[in-house]
Symmetry: C2
Subunit: 279 residues, 2 copies
Amino acid sequence: MEIGIVGLGLIGGSLGIDLRSLGHRVLGVSRRAETGDRAVERGAVDVASPDLALLRSVDVAFVCTPLGVMEATVRELVPHLPPDAALTDVGSVKGWVVEAIAPLWHNFVGGHPMAGTADSGIEAAQPNLFTGAAYVLTPTDTTPIEAVERVEAVVKPLQVRLYRCHPEAHDRAVSWISHLPVLVSASLIAACTTEVDPEVAILAKALASSGFRDTSRVGGGNPELGVMMARYNTPALRQSLLVYRDQINHLLNLLEQQDWQALQAMLEQTHRDRPPFLR
Amino acid sequence: MEIGIVGLGLIGGSLGIDLRSLGHRVLGVSRRAETGDRAVERGAVDVASPDLALLRSVDVAFVCTPLGVMEATVRELVPHLPPDAALTDVGSVKGWVVEAIAPLWHNFVGGHPMAGTADSGIEAAQPNLFTGAAYVLTPTDTTPIEAVERVEAVVKPLQVRLYRCHPEAHDRAVSWISHLPVLVSASLIAACTTEVDPEVAILAKALASSGFRDTSRVGGGNPELGVMMARYNTPALRQSLLVYRDQINHLLNLLEQQDWQALQAMLEQTHRDRPPFLR
C-alpha cells in the first residue's frame, strides 16, 4: 500500500521503518525539510516533503504530530487526501481527538500504539518499536468498517496486540494505568522535597534506592507529556485521582487507628492484584 | 575478630559470608538447628548453634531477626555476651529499636544496612550483597564511641557507604524514600482495581506497561514488610503521608482549575528534583 506519515518523530519515524520493511511505500511529511531528509537517510520514508500534497494518493495516512497541533494539521491535510483514504492518528488520548477529527474526515479511525522510549525525534526512531506492544483502535458507531479494517491490515503485521474499544473506554483505561501513575509519582517527588531539616533532606537523598527510583520514575519524566495527558484527558484523570485520594485517606485512617490487621489485608490484596496488570 | 550473628536469614547469612571472606571468625545462632546447618554448609558461619551461649566471647554481635522479635531476642542474648562486646542490629527502623534495646546493653549501636533482594531466608544469602549500599549507624549521645568505632571497623570493609545520624533522622529519611513509596504505590494498585466497568477494567490490565509496572512495584511487594515499617515507624510515616496528600490535593486543584501552566511548572520541578535522589 501507499502510506502517508505526517510528523516524523519517534513514533512516525519508527512506524515508517517497519512499514517500509513490510513492503509498503511510505511518504513522509515534516514541516522542517531537514527532518524529512534525515527520515529518508534513516530509511524511515521513501520520499519526504514539507508539502502535505505529497499524500495525494495514499491508501492510509497516519497523523503522528503532538496532540496540541493535531486538529490544525488534519484541517490542512484533508484537502489533499484522496476521497477513500483511511486516516488515523497515534495520540495518547482518544475521546478528545475523535471528537475533533472525526467531523473533518469520514474515514477517520482513532489509534494509539502504546510504545515509546525516553527519547524523541527522528534520531530516536527504531525498528520493531511496536513489537509486542498494545495498539488500540477506537472506532465509533459511525466509523466505516472498511476504514477500521484497512488500518488494522496495516498495523497488525507490526506484531502488535490489537484492541478495539470506544474512545471513552480507552481514555478511562489509560487514566488508571498510564496517566494516574504520573501524578502519583510526581507527588512523591514533590512531597520528599518539602523536608526542611537539612540533615534529613541530605540523608533521604543518600539513602534512596530502587524503591524510590522505580516509584518516582514516571513523575520525573517529560513535563510536556504530563501536561498533555492532563489537558486532553482531564475528566477521566480527575476521577481517577479522586479515587486515589480516597485510598490515601483510607491509609491515613489505618495509621491513625494503628489497624495493622486491616493494613496487612490491604497489602495482601495489592500483592495479589498487581500481577494481572503485568505481562 | 570474633563476630556473632543472631538470625541467619538473607541479611544475617549474607553478612556472615562476607565477614568470613574478610577473615573474621563468625558464630551463628538460629532457633532452628537446620537453618544453622545450612548456614555452615553455605559458608555463612564457621559454627552454628540454637544456643545463644555460643556468643560468649564475641567482639561484635549482629542481631538480624525481624523487628517484631528483636527486643525479646536481645533480652535473651545479653546474659551471654562478654561485658565489652559491641551489639548492633540490622532493623529498617531505628528510633523504636534504639529506645527498646539501648537500655538493655550499654555498648549497643543501632544499624541499618540498606540492601536486600525480593527473596528471604538463608538460601537467599549471597556474597557482596552490601557492596555500594548505604549502611547507617545511629548512635545516640550516650553510645560509647568505642562501640561505634568497632562496629564501623567491621562493616566498612564491606565497601558500604557509611552514614552516622540520630535514630529519628534515619526514621524520617526512610519514611520519605522507602516507606512512603510503598503506601503511594499500594494505593495506586488499590485505586486501579476499583474500576466497575468490565470493559475498562479488562482494557486497563491489557494496556498497562512499564509506567504502571514501575510505579506499582513496591506496593505489590511483601505485605509483612509493609506492615512492619508502618507499625514501627508510624509517626514519621503518617507525617510523610499527610504531606503527600497535600500534593495530591494540589494536583486535584490544578486539574479542576485547568491550570496547565502551574502543572507544567510542577512537573518541571519534579523532573529537576529527582536526579539528586539517584546514584
